[in-house]
């Protein structure tokens, strides 16, 4: 499998604390080991927790692109949270974008305090579908909670990403990368989370 455009631009977005930085690093390492030139730009720091966060991945066969994707140039969006997916499409989406979305909301402080409403998730997914060429959904947080810890949601999402076959990645590549990157005692659970993500993801029509 090859990338369908050069550069192929991926955004992994969600809420601080959901593990988008680690997800982008694992994905980046998987692609570098196959010879791609990767740039990853990450937004973190003050937005480490609770704020909207994004990682931008540029995948190319030839050039080192900038760590920020320009307006309207996202090819694949991996949304770890539904309204964050829509927030990213607002600036980076275009008719060519494909979106993989975790349907489990995380309420912002303004929603918790009653100053704002969190929209119906079905409505958000429908809008994402209107703005995307293809959409896949899963409740990755639920899958991770079933496994006993919401921390695995990002790995569940990477499994789903593997299943939708948009990027040239596979399970063996994932296994090799996490061997280097994550503590060995978490290996089995991470593989399980990855495989659960592969199983439960579905295309949304």
């Amino acid at each position: 499998m090859f990338i369908s455009r050069d550069p192929f631009n991926v955004i992994i977005g969600g809420v601080g604390g959901q593990g988008n930085v680690l997800a982008s690093q694992i994905l980046g390492e998987m692609l570098v080991s196959q010879g791609y030139v990767i740039t990853i730009g990450e937004t973190y720091g003050a937005s480490q927790r609770g704020g909207a966060v994004m990682s931008h991945l540029r995948i190319s066969t030839k050039d080192q692109f900038s760590p920020l994707i320009p307006e309207g140039q996202c090819d694949l969006l991996i949304a770890l949270e539904p309204v964050e997916g829509l927030r990213i499409l607002d600036h980076y989406g275009s008719p060519r974008v494909m979106t993989l979305v975790n349907t489990r909301p995380i309420h912002p402080m303004d929603v918790i305090s009653g100053n704002a409403e969190y929209p119906e998730v079905s409505k958000v997914i429908a809008k994402i579908k209107e703005l995307s060429r293809r959409v896949w959904t899963l409740n990755a947080t639920e899958v991770a909670l079933e496994m006993g810890d919401p921390i695995f949601s990002n790995i569940v999402m990477l499994g789903a990403l593997c299943a939708i076959e948009v990027l040239p990645i596979n399970q063996q590549g994932f296994e090799l990368v996490i061997k280097d990157l994550l503590p060995s005692r978490t290996m089995d659970e991470n593989m399980k989370a990855f495989n659960r993500g592969r199983e439960v993801v579905q295309e949304f029509y």
Binding site: V15, G16, G17, Q25, G28, E29, V32, V37, I38, T39, I40, G41, E42, Y44, G45, A46, S47, R49, G50, G51, A52, D63, Q64, F65, S66, P67, L68, I69, P70, E71, G72, Q73, V83, L86, R87, L89, D90, G93, S94, I106, H107, P108, M109, D110, V111, I112, G114, A116, E117, Y118, P119, K127, E130, L131, T141, A144, L145, P150, S153, D180
Partner: protein, 636 residues
Amino acid sequence: MSSISQNAPGKTVLLMGNEAIARGALEAGVKVCAAYPGNPSSEIIGTLAKVADELGLHVEWSVNEKVALEVATAASFAGLRGLCAMKQNGLNVASDFLLNLNLSGCRGGLVLVVADDPAGVSSSNEEDSRIFAKLGDLPLLEPANFQEAKEMTKSAFEISEQLGLPVLIRSVTRVSHARGNVCLDELPQSRPKPRFENSLRFHALPAVLNHKLLHEKLNRAKQMFEESPFNFYRGPEKPELMVATSGSGWMYSLEAMINLNVQERVGVLKLGTTWPLPESYVLEHLKKADRILFIEEVDPFLENNVKEIYAQNCLFLGLKAFFGKASKHIPDVGELNPEIVTHAIQNLIQVPYEPRPADYALRAHEAAAELIPARALSFCPGCPHRATYWAVKIALALDGRDGFVLGDIGCYSLGMGPSGFGQMRTLHAMGSGTGLACGFGQLNRFGLEQPVIAVCGDSTFYHAAMPALANAYYNGADFLLLLLDNSATAMTGFQPHPGTGSTATGKEAPVIDLKAICEVFGAHVEVVDPFDVAATVETLLRLLQEEKGVKVLILKRECALVSAKHQKRLYQVEVEQEHCLGETCGCNRFCTRIFKCPGLMWDKAAGKARIDEAICTGCGVCTRICPASAIRKEKA
């Protein structure tokens, strides 16, 4: 094995800009590395700390940036190579030493990396540290991507030794905190032995003579930079427009050229050695074009320095038009991105550019406006600071004299926002909360009747608040200092400090006890666990009302993210649905509307509060605030 310590020449790995800088230092044979953590620079020393034992280095988290630079400089004086890293604010702290070190010069290669934070993504300001190179007559390099970050760092040690001067490297967030492909070179195996040569002198004095010698060294740097591989031009021989850029601007400029498809019309002059500028090289390229656009992050440093060179040579260069921050083609505040650069070039050469169909953009904006709630920053679930600010809010209300909180730098800076109930009223530099309290604490003689509270984190206290506390006791100031001791430098990635009992490389270290220091400094000190809300409020109120002079309350509770790494959650928390009266309770949604921990949710359908089990970390603080006692905790 960490890719940073692999001796694998030719291997390509994915490295963060900061890791690439660390790798460059290793390839140059660095022996001593020191820093105080600060984003976006923290991973440089953090990465080196992980391989220090394996590669035989001394790596330390110093107590502040000035000490860090002095530690690295000592290595240089003894003939070893030393590296120091800091964020832009840190250079202000280290600058007193730096602006004397330039005069004394150094011996072994000495490199100071400053990672700037355009837009202040994780900072209180967005200052441009390059001005210090000009101020101190010091050579300055600016890496434009990850590979260059490694090569430049390596080369900076050579330049430093050739000139006998420290070399500054200025990185920015989008280089330091981004990742990209980096091809590794060999790691040297040499083990030089340090020795202080007693025949040598490292004195700033005599200042005028050394200033003159410094200018001579800077002139040599200028000659060296004429041939530097870090400066190059890409584009047509006679471009309609020439972009002159440095640092992250290089990647954005390339991207803009591709977006607009103008590679045949626009050239890019990429400069990596930005102080002193290689004058002949710059002049030779200025001849190529009559219109020049400057792309650089934060201040017009390159822009103004190139204009100075032009002004000296304008008679033979002829008329040129310069565009950039002065002409308002590029914003003079905030961070750059590919779009800003694309639009600036488009504007100057009049080419069409539509990043996506206009109707799509309109539909996307409409959907966003209709459906997306704002997402404000907040303390993490289970963060002790939320409990602390809650207690402060209650205690100040009970006290009734309109007391106020002076802020400081750390995670707890979020105390100025809704997550800290808007309690924090000032925010400046490391330690400034306590320093301001020293002043406010004297104003009662003029009739100030409000209680004065300063907050300060544990790491910040060792860094900069200790002198202020000594000053407070010595001069008889009257205030309450809250030391928010979460046992980590949490905001920058949980680095250890003198109060944690471990070093940068994970070795056991003596603990410098916060309570003991404050007592030696003459303060009345008490300690409380902020998760015990009732006791915290009671203690705060008593200290505000009954004690005079310098009082310190240590709020001791480990950072929730650190705790999560080594211990199970404290409690299983639940909102008992039969006891939560919901909309009918007189509390008016007290837990979610006022306390608003992200672990709580308002279930619209049921009209009651509940716990979000994906977020709650089980600190149990919210169980103390429900008037109906419907939030229950059980030992997990």
